[in-house]
């Protein structure tokens, strides 16, 4: 009975997490072909025997064509930029929550987290409405006489980072708010007693002790942001090569499944280190 209860979820995970991941590696060695599905697997039955038809074409293309290396670099840059901005904004926000009266902490934290559940599509729709040439922000600026012609905000890096930050900021605040609320304030009192000025107390006691939480906050944004598709697609510069968009385009538009699979494996390989680092932070 016990064995069956463990086996049921285990089988689910083997079938719907492990098998698909292995299949990704398998298809990456195949080649694009006419037909449904548009792919020739690396091993096939031919004349009653298994024959190897696999190729390293997709991986060779990834190395040869600078488009793909550029996409990887740009994805990491945007993810790191988003995570850094989120951290910069989240740290003081979390600090203010931790310094608030205890009964205010949970409501304030809830207020930061609730936008996550307002639906990604409505939120992105709101940003489109704000940033369009005829949008709300341009309307306000024009009426105030601050600008004479509408600014181009939508489909730019500004819109991309605004949308990314809006989606990911709450995830950065959460670990920092928990860590800063639970910190041992006696250490700071001791430093102050020994004559350290408030700025010194913060820089040599509070900040170093919160670094693991800051690292967790950074990674919690960086990891999903690196593969983000929807936000850059709706708000970012058109044709901006981010890995999530490139995988999507190779799959849906070029119908090159092996190349999309090879790109997905690349993204996984690049994220393996940050993911491992994040999991270690969680255990420590």
């Amino acid at each position: 009975m016990r064995a069956a209860l463990v086996a049921a979820p285990f089988l689910w995970l083997l079938a719907l997490v492990l098998a698909p991941a292995l299949l990704l590696g398998w298809i990456a060695f195949g080649s694009a072909a006419e037909g449904v599905p548009p792919v020739a697997p690396p091993l096939a039955w031919q004349a009653g025997a298994l024959s190897w038809q696999g190729s390293l074409e997709s991986f060779a293309l990834l190395l040869e064509d600078p488009h793909y290396a550029g996409a990887l670099l740009r994805s990491l840059l945007v993810a790191a930029g988003t995570a850094a901005l989120a951290l910069l904004l989240a740290y003081p926000m979390a600090f203010a929550i931790a310094e608030a009266r205890p009964r205010w902490r949970l409501p304030l934290l809830a207020l930061v987290l609730a936008p996550v559940w307002t639906g990604l599509m409505p939120r992105l729709g709101a940003w489109i409405g704000l940033l369009r040439d005829e949008g709300w922000i341009n309307g306000v600026l024009l009426r105030l006489g601050l600008i004479e012609a509408p600014l181009t905000l939508l489909f730019s890096d500004i819109a991309l980072y605004a949308g990314m930050l809006h989606s990911y900021l709450p995830y950065a605040v959460l670990p920092l708010a928990i860590a800063l609320s639970r910190r041992d304030r006696l250490l700071e009192a001791a430093a102050a007693d020994l004559g350290a000025a408030p700025a010194r107390v913060f820089l040599s006691v509070t900040l170093p002790l919160s670094l693991p939480a800051a690292a967790a906050a950074f990674l919690l944004v960086f990891i999903p942001a690196a593969g983000e598709f929807v936000i850059p697609e709706l708000l970012g510069p058109p044709g901006d090569p981010l890995l999530g968009r490139v995988i999507w385009a190779e799959f849906f538009q070029s119908r090159d499944w092996p190349l999309a699979a090879a790109l997905a494996l690349t993204l996984l390989a690049v994220l393996a280190l940050p993911i491992r680092a994040y999991q270690r932070l969680g255990q420590g």
Partner: protein, 266 residues
Amino acid sequence: MARLILVLGLLFLWAPILLLAGYAFSADRIPFQWGGFSLRWFAALAENARVQEAALLSLSVATGAATLACLAGGLAGWALARGGRFCGRPLFGLLAGAPLVLPEVVMGLSLLLLFVLAQGAAETLLGWRLERGAGTIVLAHATLGLAYVAVLVQARLARLDPRLEEAAADLGAMPRVVFLTITLPQMVPSLVAGWLLAFTLSLDDVVLASFVSGPAGTTLPVLIFSSLRMGLTPEVNALGVVILVLVLAAVGVAGWVLRGRGGDPG
């Protein structure tokens, strides 16, 4: 200083959402332009058959996925916390946590490859023609939700004193009775929260649904996504308000169920 940034940060998070909600009640044809109070876009929504079809599909997919995620994820969390040592436990833990960190494009693509393979196998071996659609979206969303439910349940059981279960067993309760009277009731709050979390994740997903569904599976977020690509319309504005109210209500219920448990940062 920190307080000022907190206020500005909250303003940044909430201003777009509140403006969207406000302008949904504007009569103007152009979104985010005030043309007097009106419910016309909500009325237009009520007559839009495509939106209703997509919403119905989304709600049934989310219900099915959340329920499956609760069953499988509850068992997975229990197995990780109380399953003892079993063969392949490290792999089990790795796989149960993977959907939390996998990029959604990677998960969507890999699941699609699996479903295509399964379709091919069913056709050659059994002669069945299976279509991708609501069923495959449910499986994909349930797999994502499973990981979240498993984490919640595992964390809950890790905090539960194992001596409670040992005491029940010492007093002669069969393992099944111990599970049903001690362990399961302790899991219920995290199962309820996990169900709602899986439900909202499913209602918000574009990428997984786009990859694994066939032409017949347009969920509500996928429909909004493709219409946003053409530009924002006041109807989408109004739809945003409907989703906002639904999802915040679901989160409110989850918060109420979990009140005083675990979420306290201080």
